[in-house]
Symmetry: C2
Subunit: 702 residues, 2 copies
């Protein structure tokens, strides 16, 4: 009991109760003052309730409001970006329409717009930061696996990425790029910024964990707010960026994503784009009998086709990116005049898609969204065009989007095939433009068109459907094949299967769940065996540090032990060595941290000294400087130089498989190997990567 209580003997019992309540927090005489306020009892009760509510709110994980904030903010940004982009493209379309029939003017109005946007996007974003090009998912994957990429998540890149991405998107289907990748990067920037803001009173290690948790949530929110698809957004981000993850992170990702997706769609309703919150690309497939059972085989076949095409695409993408980097013209352009390179590529792409030239045969007047809307159409164009041969309308007819795909001579098959052939290399070309842009949506659309042509061919072969016994006619829905194709192709390119779920979330219908899933699995089976994913391509091309996966098939990884591949050349600092020796060691090597051992002879591991923490002590005091050979390291340590404990050590008998697991699970960069307490070596990514590479191609014994 606080000492002053005894001076108020008549209030004793009550005070005791009060003090008991407050003892934990302060125990100061504030409690006394409360007694003089009005209704002390009610006040206390209300305060108690508030306290309890606060405790409850904080129990969920005290950063849940950061998650809400992250979700809502990103929904807001995503919507605003879409809004601006749609206004800009409307202006472009308006200009193109109003400019009259002069072909040169029309051509100019069609091409200058994207050229200007793309080169501005490149120039602006590259002037702020060189990291801003590309999708950013490869880098995020590396960061989430524990590597520190300096400045990559710095908030100062935010503007570059947002403005650059908006310009890239505004150039529309001419350049044919998407939003997912850079937007995920933007989300992660915000999440990292929030992580820095919420630095609490904890230690460095804990803050790191908290920041990483926020980053994982950020990655999920990014994918979720672009499509307004919370479930697949979370799963996609997990599949693309992690090899292991915690259910705890998954829940937090869901929570944040739902907030983001809700905000994103809510704003669309407020903006009168939609009447209520519904799917973005609503389909109207037949629900009763969406497909005949034998069609399952065609869906699986489509999956294999998508898998093969995705291999060709990934191979082409990697090769072309290397070519652009090595060819002396493009190399020079990309080194000095990135905007010029972008402008040239945009000019080429825009000229090809000009609607009065080749663009006529690839429905180039459709925007990215309209492409998807048209391809997911529930009617069969092949059967429709048998009965009618519509004119090419002067403007895109939103109720009959398939008119864009129809050409009297080429028919819809000609245009779809031409679209596939041209977009294949145009898409690869577009990915070399050094501006912030996503590559998921174009791949999704490309897959949808593969599925569409597949479905239309089936619809022509079986005009009355694949009959079942009872004679009921269920015509084939090419739109369903487009859905399966989109999911399968994008799934194969990114090595994920949650694209199937994305397809359902985007369209709001779940009736084709099994066929689409089977197509996605088939496509993944082909592509995962033959090519690295698109994002792994990015890691390979950018030479980012990344740990290869040890697949189940590499069984000998259990037989290789740490002593075979660890690096035995490790520099240690002994407690009993003189400062002269320490200075010599530190200046002759460049390690960021040194294992501290008991004595140079015993090499018994005691802890870890970080270079940046040791240096000030070595340079600090002139008295020490003068007589360095007399001082010992343990005296410096006693003088306040911090030493970090070693939390985990391996033994030389640990298998490669276990080491790999540890590195993946604990996101480690470097670990010490000790044998009976003696430091015998260390393992870092370099050693581990080499050991894994040796597994696949065992070094030939000489």
């Amino acid at each position: 009991m606080a000492p002053w209580v005894k001076f108020l003997p008549d209030m004793g019992p009550m005070m005791e109760h009060l003090v008991g309540l407050h003892e934990g927090s302060s125990g100061n005489p504030v409690a006394l003052q409360e007694l003089w306020g009005p209704c002390p009892r009610a006040q206390r009760r209300i305060r108690g309730i508030l306290e309890r509510v606060k405790r409850q709110l904080f129990r969920v994980g005290e950063d849940w409001y950061f998650l809400v904030g992250l979700g809502v903010l990103m929904g807001l940004i995503s919507f605003t970006m879409n809004f601006v982009v749609s206004r800009v493209s409307h202006a472009h379309m308006w200009l193109y329409r109003e400019i009259g029939d002069n072909h040169l003017l029309r051509y100019l109005s069609w091409t200058v717009y994207p050229i200007a946007l793309v080169s501005f996007s490149t120039g602006f974003s590259q002037s702020i930061t060189p990291f801003s090009g590309g999708s950013g998912i490869s880098e995020m994957k590396v960061i989430l696996s524990g590597v520190v990429l300096e400045d990559y998540l710095d908030i100062k890149n935010f503007g570059a990425k947002v403005v650059g991405l908006a310009c890239a998107l505004a150039s529309g289907s001419t350049i044919f790029l998407g939003k997912v990748g850079p937007f995920t990067h933007i989300c992660c920037m915000i999440a990292a910024y929030m992580g820095k803001v919420r630095v609490s009173a904890l230690g460095e290690y804990e803050n790191k964990i908290k920041q990483n948790e926020l980053l994982v949530a950020g990655a999920a929110v990014g994918a979720a707010t672009v499509f307004g698809a919370p479930i697949s957004g979370v799963l996609f981000s997990i599949e693309v960026m992690s090899s292991h993850f915690a259910v705890w992170d998954y829940w937090r990702g869901f929570f944040s994503s739902v907030c983001g997706a809700f905000m994103f769609r809510l704003l669309a309703v407020f903006n009168s784009e939609q009447e209520t919150i519904t799917s973005l690309f609503k389909t109207r497939f037949r629900v009763d009998i969406p497909f005949d059972l034998p069609e399952i085989f065609f869906f699986i076949l489509l999956g294999f086709v998508c898998g093969i095409v995705s291999c060709a695409y990934l191979f082409g993408h990697r090769r072309f990116a290397l070519f652009v980097r090595r060819n002396w013209i493009t190399k020079k352009l990309l080194a000095t005049d990135k905007p010029v390179y972008s402008a040239l590529v945009a000019l080429l792409l825009a000229s090809i898609t000009y609607p009065h030239s080749l663009g006529r045969f690839m429905a180039s007047r459709l925007s990215m969204n309209l492409y998807l809307d048209s391809l997911f159409d529930n009617q069969s164009w092949a059967l429709l065009s048998r009965n009618s041969s519509p004119e090419w309308p002067a403007e895109v007819d939103p109720n009959n989007l398939w008119f864009e795909w129809y050409h009297p001579q080429f028919t819809i098959f000609g245009t779809l095939a031409f679209f596939l052939a041209m977009k294949f290399w145009m898409l690869i070309l577009a990915t070399t433009i050094p501006m912030p842009a996503g590559y998921f949506l174009p791949v999704f659309i490309y897959g949808a068109s593969i599925g569409r042509i597949f479905g239309e061919i089936l619809a022509v072969i079986f005009p009355e459907g694949i009959k079942t016994d009872d004679g009921v006619i269920n015509t084939i829905i090419p739109g369903a094949y487009a859905l399966a194709g989109a999911a399968a192709f994008s799934g194969a390119v990114t090595h994920t299967i949650s694209t199937a779920l994305l397809a359902f979330e985007l369209t709001g219908q779940f009736v084709h769940v099994l066929p689409v899933l089977m197509a996605v699995l088939a496509a993944n089976a082909v592509c995962q065996n033959c090519q690295p994913s698109f994002y792994d391509n990015g890691i390979i091309l950018k030479k980012l540090p990344y740990l290869p996966r040890v697949l189940g098939r590499k069984l000998n990884s259990h037989l290789v032990t740490a002593e075979l591949f660890m690096n035995p050349n490790i520099t240690t600092l002994a407690k009993d060595s003189s400062l002269d020796e320490v200075v010599q060691t530190v200046t002759s090597t460049e390690a960021a941290e040194y294992p501290l051992v008991e004595s140079a002879e015993s090499q018994l591991l005691v802890g870890i000294i970080r270079r940046d923490q040791l240096l000030p002590f070595l340079q600090a005091e002139p008295t020490i400087q003068a007589s360095r050979h007399q001082w010992r390291l343990h005296e410096v340590l006693a003088g306040g130089c911090p030493m970090e404990p070693v939390t985990l050590q391996l033994s030389p008998q640990t298998s490669l498989h276990q080491v790999h697991n540890l590195f993946e699970l604990l996101k480690m960069q470097r670990i010490l190997v000790t044998s009976m307490g003696r430091v015998v070596g260390f393992i870092s990514w370099v050693e581990l990567k080499k050991a894994i590479a040796d597994l696949a191609n065992p070094p030939t014994p000489k």
Copy 2:
């Protein structure tokens, strides 16, 4: 080159090629014989292609055919079980119908059937194995976290569980139990059996990993094949059973689940139950504007309501289970006459649900599936019953299931409320029956009825929908609230959010994705804060070993280091100790393994000796027995006693948070703590659990 080749000089080069091809595999003269077969070139080429295909197939992970087999087999079992169950319940319904109007006979026919089934199920399954009662998910959760529960996955329990579960299901909605839990257990048994079958030439550690991988896939398949819902099956199993998981396992689970779900639904088509593969409980909600925007708030409110009810349910369940265990009557019955206890409970439940008594007010003639079908109805019963007051039909009318819920005096609100009130305690009572049965489906149905009554009330309050500005009337769909209620309540009870996805996969419609997700999150927010999940309840009640979660809020877990909570009383064996001392140590302690140290004085850790491997050496040779005090332990080791390497050691400075992470990620049971090579203690689940408990309730300093 093989020596016999030189005798065939003219065939030299060709033979060389051939031998080169086969050298790796055998190098025996089989290659010679091939030359005399027809078309040796074509043969070779075909063989080469086959070899390459085989290699490709095996690349995916050489046990993918096990995954297919697991999926297909479980789909088959699930379908067969459903088929048998539906036949048995049809027979029951037929008997009940045909028995005439004599009330006593009708009552008997209604009650005897479930009593017989339930008591047979209890007796049969308990006679084979005492583990067979309950859902099995709690045990699977413990097993997947790395604990070995002897015999729990033994294939000999398979029959007990399958037959017991089939009987439990056949007793229908009277007993009101489901299938998910025991079926997951059955799947895991099969997976464990397959894992034992596929033991490869690898070491023990590798086989363990492979078996665990199959087990994870088995858990996913179990949930997926019950509902034919592959996506949510995988996610549900992950959320319920793991705290961390690998994307690699998730892909394998998906693959196996899709095979299983496909098989399950395919058989339904072949059996003419469905025309093609579609959802189980197809809904027909309005697609254009499924809900008005303000309804989102009601959905969230419903989520909170479900969360609160789920807390009450979980609390009641735990308390009642303890009561049954302590009360002397039930205690005695459960100890000696389990079938009698089951029969008594079944008699009570069946008497209440007898349709001509209280069952009339709780639609008890509906089967489990029809309950869901009726609750997800897209019409509003409250509005329907205003215009017409239907008679209670003599039999269930499959086209107007809501007639079962309608009562002229009580109206549908009365019956729904009565259903909720009665089923609350009936469900808790049913969970105490010691037979194999799942508790997910009943909870799902219960949640659907909470949602239904909520939706019907809203439909009455806003008969013309919540009007938007433009005057379009969108009536409220109570079925959508039933969907949200089912997902939210079952999600809260199991602490998962993938139940939302399950709701969509079951109904085939995705239009309510955001409101349902928000309801599920709200329900989880309430329940996760107040009560352990249903399966955690099981762990608590059965006193299974389980590691509590360290939530983000327990921040001081970073400040508690291993030396504060490790167990320093560790018995080591020193290399230089005499066999007399070793025998004394081994007989006086009961540890399964002992750390081996260099000498009793230095205590430097060298490796680990397992008790069961050491004992034979101590008991073996009489010469050693006679002169035990002369022999030293290191001589026994040199004589062949195996010693295992220590792969991982902690230091006394490792924080509780890190230790917990390691235990969770690596599924460890025990880890040694060393300081400068010396063994200073160990940490096992016991110490960790105590340390975590102390975090929540810090021990008061004396």
